[in-house]
Amino acid sequence: MTVDIPSLILAIVLDFSVYLMVVVSLNVEIGLTGVPNFGRVLAYAGGAFVTGAIPGRILQLVYGVQGDYILNNPSVIAEINYKLLQQPLMALAVLILTLILAGTVGAALGYISSYPALRLREDYLGILLLIAGTSLVVVGITYPPIVGGTVGVQVPAVFNALLGQGPSLYYKISIVLLSFSLAMLILFHLISNSPMGRAFRAVRENEDLVGVLGRDIGVIRGKAMALGGFLAGVAGSLYAFYIGSVYAAAFDNLTWSFNPYLMLVLGGAGTSLGAVLGALVYSTLYHVIDLYKQTLSYYLHFDAVWLQYMLFGLILTLILIIRPQGIVVEKAKPLVKPRSKDEEKSTS
């Protein structure tokens, strides 16, 4: 059986970049600040819903397209795309504006979630964030005017307009997504080494001490969750543009809260490399199994996708027992630079 390597790599890269962005957003909250956010999907869906609800409606207004955005969505979007494909600059503007809006909404959602974070113990906090995660999605499913309820909406084909139709479209999209995820990684690295990052880590290590030293833990946590929410919102928006549609029910806790959390734990929370490894392992595992799906399912007598779940769960369970910090262990970063060897000798 010939294996289509380029397609496999493309599939892995696409998934990898999407998940990497989510994992990096989690890394700010979990990895740096120690907030157990089991409800990541909130900000992520927020960004996606913004993308499903806003750009299409704006373009509809701009182009004067008739029809109800939700009820006649397919035809409305079709008309929009027809015009949009000839105006790449408009597409670029729409993309940038939507990303900013999505990021802002994500940040707001993250910030609101931080409100109970100050007063709750980690177990209660984890539970609350978990339950709050899908609240927005429930509304999205039940209230059609946002993103089409159980039918969903299509999203203006911004990537097609910018990158051109044709067989290499998804390769180009993968490069775009990779670039964004790389940018987020760099941003994470900068944050991590900044004073704000040090404040985050201080809260993670010993929040009482931070309070005693006069910093407001609530403010710090709020910043962390707003930042994480921002990244997640942008990621969700990019995802919606990449998929070309927003279907509320697809934003479930398992796919967008739990699995990314576990990816981060696997790779190693707190480090950029850890985030990359976690997302990479997951995406590779998924697509390799998917590649041999037919054969595997034949021999297993069940759909091979569940094998991936079981393996992932097993790997995570084992890693947590054997090496709970993850594959890449965060090196302790002293707040003060160590004195040089000569200085040390003369004082002791």
């Binding site: 609350l128 429930v138 779940y309 769960g313 947590l320």
Partner: protein, 307 residues
């Protein structure tokens, strides 16, 4: 003729009450909220499904099987995951994540099983209900209504007797209150914790085994009902087992009965069909947890004057 809404509510609330009770049990003894609690429920559902659809036996035979199987899997989770992790000094959040990881493993396994049933036995194993296999008792009541309430009462009574009248049960209470003191008093707290996990997994699976007899179920139940189970425990207060049951029962009552009645009253007022309003019952766990944490963080049972 009893209102089907009442029947639905009571069955669901009994199941949820037992589930929240089981979650509170392991929380009290090992301090960890078990993210896999919903998967235990699912496990029970698939035991019933297997017994009824594959083996074509009386569906209620699944009760003891589900209990034992759930208990066994819970023991695996305790000895294989939680205990090694806590001995190595894993933090609370790490332990929570470990229960999450284990839940994914189990979830994949159960889905694989459902898929297997489909492949090999050509049996539809998702979005199914077994209500039609139940026994009709007249007046619109099916056997599951009785069984769920009796089971809940039986578990609560047995737990009460166990915890207050038996040596082992009193050891459980001691371990919950002060584990190191209990150890000093010669109580094997590791065994106590293992037993609590066995009971927790067993009860959740037993409760879950009744679910398909009243409702439609599918693997996603594992994570959707988890929110309600947590909400029920938080509502009860995560401080007493009885509170766990009460919290879960009330949570179920709100989700089914209150939301439905509300939807009938609100429908003409806001011009939305009751069916749509009912869909929002998935927001109840969040509202309940938020309300509890704001108003009475120690839940219903914690509202008594603290010494």
């Amino acid at each position: 003729m009893i209102d089907p809404l009442i029947i639905n509510t009571i069955v669901y609330s009994s199941i949820l009450g037992l589930s929240s009770l089981s979650l509170t049990l392991t929380y009290l003894t090992t301090k960890v909220p078990n993210f896999a609690q919903g998967v235990f429920l699912l496990l029970g559902s698939y035991v019933t499904f297997t017994v009824a659809e594959v083996l074509r036996q009386n569906p209620y035979l699944s009760l003891p099987v589900a209990f034992l199987l759930g208990g066994a899997v819970a023991l695996i989770q305790y000895y294989g995951v939680l205990l090694p992790l806590s001995t190595r000094g894993g933090s609370l959040v790490t332990q929570m994540v470990a229960t999450l990881a284990f839940s994914i493993l189990l979830y994949g396994g159960l889905n694989a099983y459902a898929s297997y049933l489909d492949y090999v036995y050509r049996v539809q194993s998702r979005d199914v209900t077994l209500g039609f296999l139940d026994y009709n008792l007249g007046g619109g009541i099916r056997a599951v209504f009785l069984v769920s309430t009796v089971l809940a009462a039986a578990f609560i009574l047995s737990l009460y007797l166990f915890l207050n009248k038996t040596r082992l049960g009193v050891s459980v209470r001691a371990t919950v209150e002060n584990p190191s003191l209990a150890e000093s008093m010669g109580i094997n707290t590791k065994l106590v914790k293992a037993i609590s996990w066995f009971l927790s997994g067993g009860m959740a699976s037993a409760a879950g085994s009744l679910y398909p007899l009243q409702f439609v179920f599918s693997p996603t139940l594992a994570y959707s009902i988890l929110l309600s189970v947590f909400a029920g425990s938080v509502l009860g207060g995560l401080m007493s087992l009885f509170g766990g049951f009460i919290g879960g029962f009330i949570e179920g009552f709100i989700e089914k009965y209150v939301v439905t009645e509300l939807s009938i009253y609100l429908s003409p007022v806001i011009g939305v069909s009751p069916f749509v309003i009912n869909q929002y019952s998935t927001l109840v766990p969040l509202i309940v947890v938020a309300a509890v944490l704001l108003i009475a963080p120690n839940g219903i049972m914690g509202m008594r004057v603290k010494r």
